[in-house]
Symmetry: C2
Subunit: 282 residues, 2 copies
């Protein structure tokens, strides 16, 4: 039986010092990684995003081979089968004050949670999206990063409890739709797929990139440009992507229904194959 297990800097443990800057300021990054048959999916992409995020936050990245070794030991110790590996990297501990310490030793937290494949809030094709009232703030310095400042997502996610709702969509203060609380968004129409550019807010999803590659392979055009709510209602179909679900064709936006055939099945299948199958053992 798989069991939940956490390693901190390579050692079993489930506590961090109060002085950790992740707790004090949300000063860090995280990755949510699908585990299938005990192995991580899209490991290289997750590590690449984490490394580039560390550079943008001006903190040293974790050493990749050590991290892979730690993840391998954790998954083995947890007897992992299917589940979720959450990797959190903070700027480590420091004295009081916002100023990053002159010498930073990042803290790496790896947590495995066993989960069924369909536990992530539903992946059914008749799933529903709603609009959240909580807006998403804009800051180009943080845009695209999967950082630890997630209060907006917490407040947005608190807006619904119906477990059949796939996700809640969030808009920037200008009323443009950016993403779900935990997924990226694509709208399909006669010209192809449209997804919001993530230049001022949103998370640059690993599976968002996979979907764009699958679309290219299938000859479907993808454009990054602003999406107004009206464009979602006018679309023939919507797709959401995240690391645990791959790609899901949306059934409803509020009460508005999309045809189940609108989204090419080959596109969904391509994303699931690439994003939810481990490439190789760690």
């Amino acid at each position: 039986m798989s069991r939940a297990l956490t390693f901190i800097d390579g050692h079993p443990g489930d506590q961090v010092p109060v002085s950790d800057r992740g707790l004090q300021y949300g000063d860090g990054l995280f990755e949510t990684i699908a585990i299938r048959r005990g192995q991580p999916c899209l490991w290289q992409r997750h590590l690449a995003r984490l490394t580039s995020g560390c550079a943008r936050l001006q903190m040293p990245p974790p050493e990749r081979s050590a991290l892979a070794a730690d993840a391998g030991r954790l998954l083995a110790a947890a007897a992992a089968n299917d589940g979720v590996l959450k990797l959190t990297v903070t700027r480590g501990s420091g004295p009081r004050g916002y100023a990053p310490p002159p010498s930073v030793k990042p803290r790496c937290i790896l947590s495995f949670t066993p989960e069924g494949r369909d536990s992530a809030g539903g992946t059914r094709a008749d799933g529903r999206l709603i609009f959240c009232a909580t807006p998403l703030s804009e800051n180009p310095r943080l845009a695209g990063l999967k950082h630890l400042n997630r209060l907006e997502q917490v407040l947005a996610r608190a807006e619904w409890s119906d477990p059949t709702i796939l996700d809640g969509l969030m808009c920037n203060p200008r009323g443009q739709v950016i993403c779900g609380t935990m997924s990226n968004l694509f709208a399909l129409d006669h010209s192809g797929l449209t997804t919001p550019a993530l230049t001022t807010c949103g998370v640059s999803g690993t599976v968002r990139a996979v979907l764009m590659e699958c679309a290219a392979a299938l000859g479907i055009a993808v454009t990054e440009r602003p999406l107004r709510p009206a464009a979602l209602y006018a679309a023939s179909g919507l797709i959401i992507t995240n690391a645990l679900r791959g790609a899901v064709a949306v059934g409803y936006l509020g009460e508005h229904r999309y045809s189940p055939e609108a989204v090419p099945a080959a596109l969904i299948a391509c994303v699931r194959r690439r994003a939810l199958e481990p490439e190789m053992p760690l």
Copy 2:
């Protein structure tokens, strides 16, 4: 001798579970409280802000009398004289995912750090402000709250290391000056004081409110309205406020010098008297 000491939920300790939502999402609030001769300054105001912040984040507030008792025991155990009491309240531990748990047990972290009275980056009247390049994002749902999502302040504070700089000013994406990384801002001109309204971003400072009361008592008008950088250069004087410094008349904004006599000494003295003297023992 005073010593650093931390209580978690009333018990000595300096570790929190990895599952704490403060670490996972920055899902919580904090207060930075000046300690003088072992007693907290502006305790009631800090607790009132914390309580209203908890309501806005839809989490149960800590019980005030228990928190006061814990703070009293901590300060006694630390043999506290002058220093800083940091009070952090998170939404406690929960399972994976943004959704707040149905039953929340907030976690209260109290940390005392001994510090000299002038250690908070300088309080000298010839101190300098600079402009930070890191913008401050806008979200009315979070505006005014002293929440744990502080990556913007971390990035802004990383823009300078000169210890004689008082603080760095941050602007919203529309170029309006909102506050410093760790202080509120007032500009003085012939019509009185102007300070930015904090309706879309910024922290509603305890000493900001004290200064507004002192100004009223001294017959100085205070207006809340947008401040452009040009208005700061045109001002006769600038004042910054925070819980550890009280009010400080700014000497320079970049290379621009303000007359040391522009800011009424009675205003600064009033704020320091009210904000940096304990009202009564806990």
